[in-house]
């Protein structure tokens, strides 16, 4: 059993515990279309033997790179996913966004991601659900809140994520108390929570960027082509909204070349999210956003 197999076995174990304890309490999984949450989606199919017994939730900022949405819907139909998306329609309508030059990058993230996520999960804002017969999204009548949310973050992404637990409670206001988290011991997680609280579940915490790519290769998992150089000597390393995400210089054209690039340490001294402009606005920005519920 090698490292990847061990990580896979652990992540599957966490996903199954999530389902075991939260299936009756509204469980959902966030899918950002990026490589990490796509790996997570694939792991869920493994955990449940080809089925995914809970909905996938995507937050559409409407500034996502268009290929991402195409990819989302193609996979959702192919894998018969129960696909839901939510959005901050008010901010979009009133153009309270960075691309519309009304707010700065971080505020834009807060409106289009954090707020949209929070209210989509709570069921206060309209959700849209994929109808597999009509092959399009229709307004979802269900408004019950998600009490368990599976999220594909990794501890090595940046400082604050290394403080996460596998099962992490968030209070009613999505608050995260970094300093006083309940302990996790051995194979046991905190699966009880008071009313009004919900739980974030993180099956990928121990994975690194390289692990992700090696697993994508091993299992032949489909990923979006934006991760590969199409001949311009540029590729995306981390995906987000197009106004705030820039590709890195790299000539990796396929999974093998990305693995090679990561292994030889060419990117060793460049942060993975370096193409994400919002991270730079302020040193602790991401931690603040995380406390506010941004994944």
């Amino acid at each position: 059993m090698d490292r990847i197999e061990r990580l896979e076995a652990e992540s599957i174990f966490i996903l199954r515990d999530a389902y075991k304890y939260f299936k009756t309490k509204n469980l959902g999984m966030l899918w950002s279309i990026g490589k990490d949450s796509t790996v997570l989606l694939y792991l869920a199919r493994k955990a449940f033997f080809g089925h995914i017994p809970f909905p996938l939730v995507h937050i559409d900022t409407h500034y996502k790179i268009p290929e991402m949405i195409e990819f989302r819907d193609k996979i959702a139909l192919e894998w018969k996913l129960d696909m839901i998306y939510g959005e901050n329609s008010e901010a979009l309508q009133k153009k309270y966004t960075f691309p519309d030059q009304k707010v700065d990058r971080l505020t834009c993230c807060k409106y289009l991601k954090s707020d949209a996520l929070k209210h989509t999960l709570s069921g206060e804002w309209q959700r849209y659900r994929l109808d597999h017969n009509l092959k399009k999204y229709i307004k979802d009548a269900k408004t019950d809140p998600f009490n368990g949310v599976i999220v594909g973050i990794r501890a090595d992404e940046e400082g604050s994520r290394s403080k996460e637990r596998c099962f992490s409670p968030r209070s009613e206001n999505n608050e995260w108390n970094v300093g006083d988290q309940p302990p996790e011991v051995w194979q046991y997680f905190n699966t009880d929570f008071p009313k009004g609280c919900h739980i974030r579940i993180h099956p990928l915490l121990d994975w690194t960027e390289l692990d992700i790519w090696e697993y994508i290769k091993k299992e032949n998992i489909p990923v979006i082509s934006l991760y590969f150089d199409q001949g311009q000597g540029k590729r995306y390393r981390s995906l987000g909204c197009y106004p705030c995400t820039t590709p890195i210089n790299s000539i990796s054209k396929n999974v093998d070349e990305i693995i090679e690039e990561l292994k030889t340490g060419k990117l060793a001294n460049i942060a993975e999210r370096s193409g994400r402009a919002q991270d730079k606005e302020d040193g602790g920005g991401l931690e603040n956003l995380r406390r506010d519920g941004y994944m």
Binding site: R3, G179, W186
Partner: protein
């Protein structure tokens, strides 16, 4: 070449130099991002602060502000040999939950002791925790040797004292290393100031740690995590899912489950998207289908029949427990526990020994609670027999956690399986009856006046088998024959007596307890009390029977009889002929001399 990462943790009392040691390891193995060391140094210079290697670890703004490591943050580094993850476990007592979280993941551990300050209370507590967390490879680092003039004598004394302590806990420390973390002495190379020390330096020691065994050689154990039956796409499979924690198994092997003792044969091994998997070994999360459609519950342990290595089955466990809950653990109070993949209810019934306590008096006799940060040896009693292992046999199924106030509040290891004698409930009932105020009327007086003895008639069976109909007709029949009968539908308790109960396992347990106590009250008045319950198992029945004592119970089961241990008094077909059924019950009551022939 694939190099498996090894995880180790550094534990030590606050200020004994953990962060300095880790900062040093990162810096000396060139594992820091480019320019990091320089920028921290420059920052210190600008702010006229003395540079500290510990600063390198402060990944969070907040941490820098507080000046203490608040969580088991991870850092990564590599040597020629392999990759490492260092888990930085904060030493501050308030952050012990974080330390436990970090240390529980470790393959090996360093315990750090300040040469000048010596062995602190916390250093001992760390020893207890390491033994409870079952970390096998332990190395003790004596830091700040510069402050004691690199004295071999000081080092030897600390080693002697601490080693005696660890040995008592069953920990054999691999070695003791004297270092000066701040100056990097005995970290990457041996120190000139301590030529008397010729053993491994810290980096060599790290490379010398052995990765965790894979448990393939051990006997097979598969704790059932969950059972799936997904119907979508006409999927017919009923899959037992979980992780193989030790051994190997092949399709076609005969298996046996504990505690239910059910047997079957492995039909298929399931791993999406593969087909036809012939065998699987320890470490993998997978699924199994069986030849027989057995009803297996999550928390049971699947073993191979032919290996003849089976887990313990008992209700009483001897354990070592570390408590970290905000509220004290109360003896005799029911808590939710997790052991293996089972979640169930248990209580501490007896403290055998207090290993470590913040309290001054260690009087076990008077101790009715376990305080925060106590380490105790005690007896845990579960509501039902469970299967588990002793920690030295199989650690996965031999360790447990206790949940209180929605959090993991205690953790421990199982060191013994005790016989089921002297169960707390027997003790309780005995004491309850001794204390009971019986007034001036005896049981016999009542029976004489009423013309019959009292009895609790419990009708069991699945939903829709005609239990209620039988119960109300029986009540009427008895009543018309001048017997004092009284029927209660449990549905009527839901909004009243049991209004505070939900459908959690915890509350189901409480429901059963109240049922038993309620029966005791009614039978105590001398009447024939009748009720019906569905979804009740052997152990619940046993519990109700005991709680109703010294009065008697008569169990009438309708439909399929699933009771293996509890022998019911009467077993009737589903939706029985009511007249016939009431007659049979009356017969039984006569046989037992609850009602007497000539009264009829």
């Amino acid at each position: 070449m694939e190099k498996e990462q090894l995880n180790f943790v550094v534990i030590g009392h606050v200020d004994h130099g953990k962060s300095t040691l880790i900062g040093r390891l990162l810096a000396d193995t060139n594992s820091l991002p480019e320019g990091k060391l320089e920028s921290v140094k420059a920052f210190c210079e600008k702010n006229s602060r003395v540079f500290e290697y510990a600063f390198l670890l402060d990944a969070l703004k907040e941490e820098q502000a507080q000046g203490i490591t608040i969580d088991a943050a991870r850092c990564f580094f590599k040597t020629q040999k392999r990759d490492y993850m260092i888990i930085d476990a904060p030493g501050h007592t308030e952050f012990i939950k974080n330390m436990i979280t970090g240390a529980a993941k470790a393959d090996a551990c360093f315990i750090l002791i300040d040469a000048k300050e010596g062995i602190q209370k916390n250093s001992k507590r760390h020893g207890y925790i390491v033994s409870l967390l079952d970390i096998k490879q332990v190395v003790v680092i004596i830091n700040k040797m510069d402050l004691v003039n690199y004295s071999k004598e000081v080092f030897d004394n600390i080693q002697k004292e601490y080693n005696e302590f660890l040995t008592n806990l069953g920990i054999n420390a691999i070695r003791y290393i004297p270092v000066c973390a701040r100056d990097g002495e005995n970290i990457l190379s041996l120190s000139k100031n301590m030529e008397w020390y010729k053993d491994l330096n810290v980096i060599e020691q790290i490379d010398d740690f052995k990765p965790k065994g894979k448990n393939i050689e051990k006997k097979f154990r598969f704790p059932i995590q969950d059972v799936y039956k997904f119907t979508e796409g006409d999927d017919e499979r009923r899959i037992l899912s979980g992780k193989v924690v030790s051994g190997t198994i092949n399709a076609g092997d005969e298996v046996v489950f504990f505690p239910s003792n059910k047997k079957s044969i492995i039909k298929t091994i399931e791993i999406f998207p593969k087909n036809d998997i012939a065998s699987i070994e320890a470490g993998f999360s997978c699924g199994f289908t069986l030849n027989d459609p057995l009803y297996i519950k999550s928390g049971e342990i699947m073993c191979k029949t032919k290996e003849q290595s089976f887990p313990q089955v008992s209700r009483r466990l001897k354990v070592n427990l570390f408590w970290m809950g905000e509220a004290n653990l109360l003896i005799e109070k029911s808590y939710k526990i997790k052991i293996g993949t089972l979640e169930t209810i248990a209580k501490v019934t007896e403290i055998i020994n207090i290993v470590d306590s913040s309290e001054l008096s260690n009087n076990i006799e008077k101790k009715t609670q376990i305080n925060k940060y106590d380490v105790v040896q005690c007896v845990i009693e579960t509501a039902k027999p469970i299967s588990f292992d002793l920690v030295q046999d199989h650690h996965y199924t031999g360790r447990f956690v206790i949940i209180d106030n929605f959090e993991i509040a205690g953790c421990g290891i199982v060191t013994g399986s005790l016989s089921n004698e002297n169960l707390a409930i027997d003790q309780y009932v005995k004491e309850r009856e001794i204390k009971w105020d019986f007034g001036l009327i005896s049981r016999e007086d009542r029976a004489k006046r009423f013309g019959h003895k009292s009895k609790f008639i419990l009708i069991t069976g699945k939903k829709g088998t005609g239990k209620r109909e039988l119960a109300i007709r029986l009540e009427k029949k008895l009543f018309e024959s001048n017997y004092n009968s009284y029927y209660i539908n449990v549905a009527n308790l839901t909004d009243g007596l049991d209004v505070d109960l939900s459908d959690s396992i915890f509350d189901k347990e409480e429901f059963v307890r109240r049922m038993g106590e309620l029966a005791r009250l009614f039978t105590g008045c001398g009447i024939i009390f009748i009720t019906a319950l569905d979804d009740i198992d052997d152990y619940d029945l046993e519990k109700i029977k005991k709680l109703n004592m010294p009065y008697e119970i008569l169990v009438v089961n309708i439909g399929e009889n699933n009771y293996e241990k509890f022998s019911v008094n009467l077993n009737l077909q589903a939706n029985p002929n009511i007249n016939l059924a009431t007659e049979l019950i009356l017969e039984e009551l006569k046989k037992q001399e609850i009602i007497l022939e000539y009264y009829l």
